[in-house]
Subunit: 333 residues, 2 copies
DNA sequence: CTGAAAGCGCTAACAA
DNA sequence: TTGTTAGCGCTTTCAG
C-alpha cells in the first residue's frame, strides 16, 4: 500500500494525499476527510525510506557511547532518548568500547546512515592528543556534533558539561580544611573530565600552599573487587591515607570494600567521596557521599541546544553547569 | 557526491559503480580498481536512504525497553547492540516506560521507521491479559518480533528466556529444607517472568505439602529506601520472617537496608536472595546472593535466532535456558 | 563484462 | 484548492 494506492482509492492525486499526511493546510476539509478515511481504512503509513530520500533526513540522531551497560552512561542515554523523542527524533545507538579505532569506525558508520547529528556521550571521546580528535572535527563538517561531558574547540561541535574542575577542587579543599592530611586521589580515566578533576585536586593543594606527594595520586582500572585489592596492595607498600577522592562511584565502592576488609571505620578513620552520584551510591553500605554532576541537566541542555541548532537559532558552543556535593554516610562534614 | 558523479569521473555507468560498491563479482579487476580509486579519492559513501528505498531495508533493528537506565535492561541492550553490530545491523532504541499505551505507540513508531525486526527487552512487555498483547501479534505480521524474557504464542514471535519458574522453585525449596519457615516473597512486577517466579514459589510449598500464608507474598514497587521502609512497616504490622526471596536485586538491596536499620544479622537471622545477579549485587554489603538468569546467553541467542530467521533457516520459536544461583554473603548454604 | 533504463515511494515546485 | 511532474540516489533487470 503506497501513496498511489491511497490517492486512487480516494479519487485524488498523490500530492493531495501527501498534503493530508503532512498536515498541509491547503486542503479542503471535505477532501481531507475523504483521504483520511481511506488512509485509516487501509492502515496506511508512508514509507520512511522514500520520505528520507526526498527530505534527506529520517529524523534520527546517532548516539555514541563507550559502554551502554555502564550505569552512568545508561542513565545519560535514557535521558537523551526521552528528550529526543519529545522532539520527534529517534536514537540510533552505537557502543564503541574504549579503543580509538572503533570509535572512529562507529562514528563514520553513523554518518553513513545519514543521522542528523551525533551525540558523543561521555568524556572519554575527547583525547588530550588533539590529533586523535581529528575524526570528530571531520564529522562536524557533515552534521552538528554534541559532546556530553567533554569539549573540543572546533566549528559545529557543541558541548554540554559539568564543571568537574571546581567540584574536585572544592571537595579537596574541604578535606584539607577539615584536618585531612593524606588524601588519596584515585581515578580511572585520562579523559577530558578526568583531567579536569585531577587538575582540581592539584590546584586545591597549590592554593593552600601545600605540596602533593605524587604517590597519593593513583590511576587504576578494574572492577570493584580489583579496586579493593589494589588499595590493599597500596597499603602493603606502606602508603597510608585518611581519605579517598575518586573520579567515579565504582572506584569509591571498591574503596568501601577495602575499608571493610581492613576493618577501617568509615568515615571516622577514612572518608570516601565518589563521583557521578550514580545509583550504586545508595546501594552500598555505608552509603556514598558523591559529587552529582547533574547528568539530567546536561542531557536536557544537550538536546535542547541541538534542537535550536536545527531551528537555526544561535546557541552557545559550550554550556557549563555546576556540580553539587551530595553528602551521605562516608564523610563526616 | 552521488553515484552519477562517481560513474562520470570513472568513465563507467552507474550500474558498474553500484556493482563495485556491492562487491558484485561481474566486474573486471581493471574497472573495479578504476572505480575504487575515484570512490576513495572523493570519499564517497552511498546514500543510505536511497539504498533503503530500493532494498526496502536499512539494516536496522528496533529495540524496545521500558527503561534503559535500569542496570539490568541496560546490560541487555548492550549485549544485543554488540551482537547486532557484528551482523551489520544497527539499533534503534526506544524507551517506552511501563504504560500500555506508550508501548503500543513506540512499537508502531518503530514499525513506521521500517525496522527489520523489533526486540522487546524485558518480560514486562508480556501481559497476562492476552488482549493487551494483541498489538504485538499485530506487529508480528510485518516483521519478526523477538521477546527477551517473555513468551507469546503467535506466528512470527520468538522468545529467548530463562527458566525463572524453576529457579525460584529451587531456591524456595532450598530455604525450606534448610530450616527456614517464614519466607517472605517480595516482587515488583506482574510481568510474564514475574508470574513464573511467583508460581515457582507457590509450587515449592505445595510440593512439600506446605501451605503458604498469603501475607508472606508481598508486591511492592519503589526505590531502595522505599523498599526498606515498606519492610519496616510490614514488621510493625507483626509480620516476621527469616528469609526474603525477591524478584529483583533492587528489592534485595532494599531488604538489606531494612536489615541494617533494624539491626538484624544477615544471613544469620535473615537470608536474602536477589534476582538477576546484576552489578549492584556486588556493590552492597554484605554482597548479595542472587539468581543469575543468564542475560548474556539469552541476548546472544536472541540475535542469532533473528539472523537465522533472516537467512531463512528454521529456528525454535522458544529457547529456554537454566538460571544459576550465585552464592555470596546473604545466605549461609 | 558493461550500460540503459525502469522503479522504489515520497515531497515540493509549478501549473491550473 | 488540486493535479502534474521532476527529482531524491540507489539497485536490478534486461540487452548487448
Amino acid at each position: 500500500m503506497n501513496i498511489y494506492d491511497i490517492s486512487q482509492k480516494a479519487g485524488v492525486s498523490i500530492a493531495t494525499v501527501s498534503r493530508v499526511i503532512n498536515g498541509n493546510s491547503n486542503v479542503s476539509e471535505k477532501t481531507r476527510k475523504k483521504v483520511m478515511a481511506v488512509i485509516e481504512q487501509y492502515d496506511y503509513t508512508p514509507n520512511a525510506f522514500a520520505r528520507g530520500l526526498g527530505l534527506n533526513t529520517m529524523q534520527t540522531i546517532g548516539i555514541l557511547c563507550a559502554d551502554s551497560s555502564d550505569p552512568y552512561l545508561a542513565s545519560a542515554i535514557y535521558y537523551i532518548e526521552q528528550m529526543l523523542h519529545k522532539e520527534q527524533y529517534d536514537s540510533l545507538l552505537c557502543c564503541t568500547g574504549y579503543n580509538q579505532e572503533d570509535k572512529e569506525k562507529y562514528l563514520n558508520l553513523l554518518l553513513s546512515k545519514k543521522v542528523d547529528s551525533i551525540i558523543l556521550v561521555g568524556s572519554n571521546f575527547v583525547e588530550a592528543d588533539e590529533e586523535k580528535n581529528q575524526y570528530i572535527k571531520e564529522a562536524a563538517k557533515s552534521v552538528p556534533i554534541m559532546l556530553l561531558n567533554g569539549a573540543i574547540d572546533a566549528p559545529n561541535i557543541y558541548s554540554s558539561l559539568c564543571d568537574d574542575y571546581h567540584a574536585t577542587f572544592q571537595i579537596t579543599q574541604k578535606l584539607l580544611k577539615t584536618g585531612h592530611e593524606r588524601i588519596l586521589y584515585l581515578y580511572n580515566s585520562h579523559s577530558y573530565s578526568g583531567k579536569k578533576k585531577l587538575k582540581g585536586f592539584h590546584d586545591a593543594y597549590s592554593e593552600m600552599g601545600l605540596k602533593i606527594n605524587e604517590s597519593y595520586i593513583q590511576y587504576f582500572v578494574g572492577d570493584i573487587h580489583e579496586t579493593r585489592d589494589f588499595l590493599v596492595n597500596l597499603t602493603k607498600k606502606g602508603l597510608t591515607f585518611d581519605s579517598i577522592i575518586t573520579s567515579d562511584d565504582n572506584l569509591a565502592v571498591g574503596a568501601l570494600k577495602f575499608a571493610k576488609l581492613k576493618g577501617i571505620s568509615v568515615p571516622k578513620d577514612l572518608s570516601i567521596i565518589g563521583y557521578n552520584n550514580s545509583m550504586i551510591a545508595t546501594c552500598c553500605d555505608p552509603e556514598l557521599t558523591s559529587i552529582d554532576n547533574k547528568l539530567e541537566t546536561i542531557c536536557k541542555n544537550c538536546v535542547s541546544t541541538l534542537m535550536n541548532i536545527f531551528n537555526g537559532n544561535s546557541v552557545p558552543f559550550r554550556s557549563v553547569f555546576s556540580a553539587e556535593l551530595v553528602k551521605r554516610e562516608t564523610t563526616d562534614f
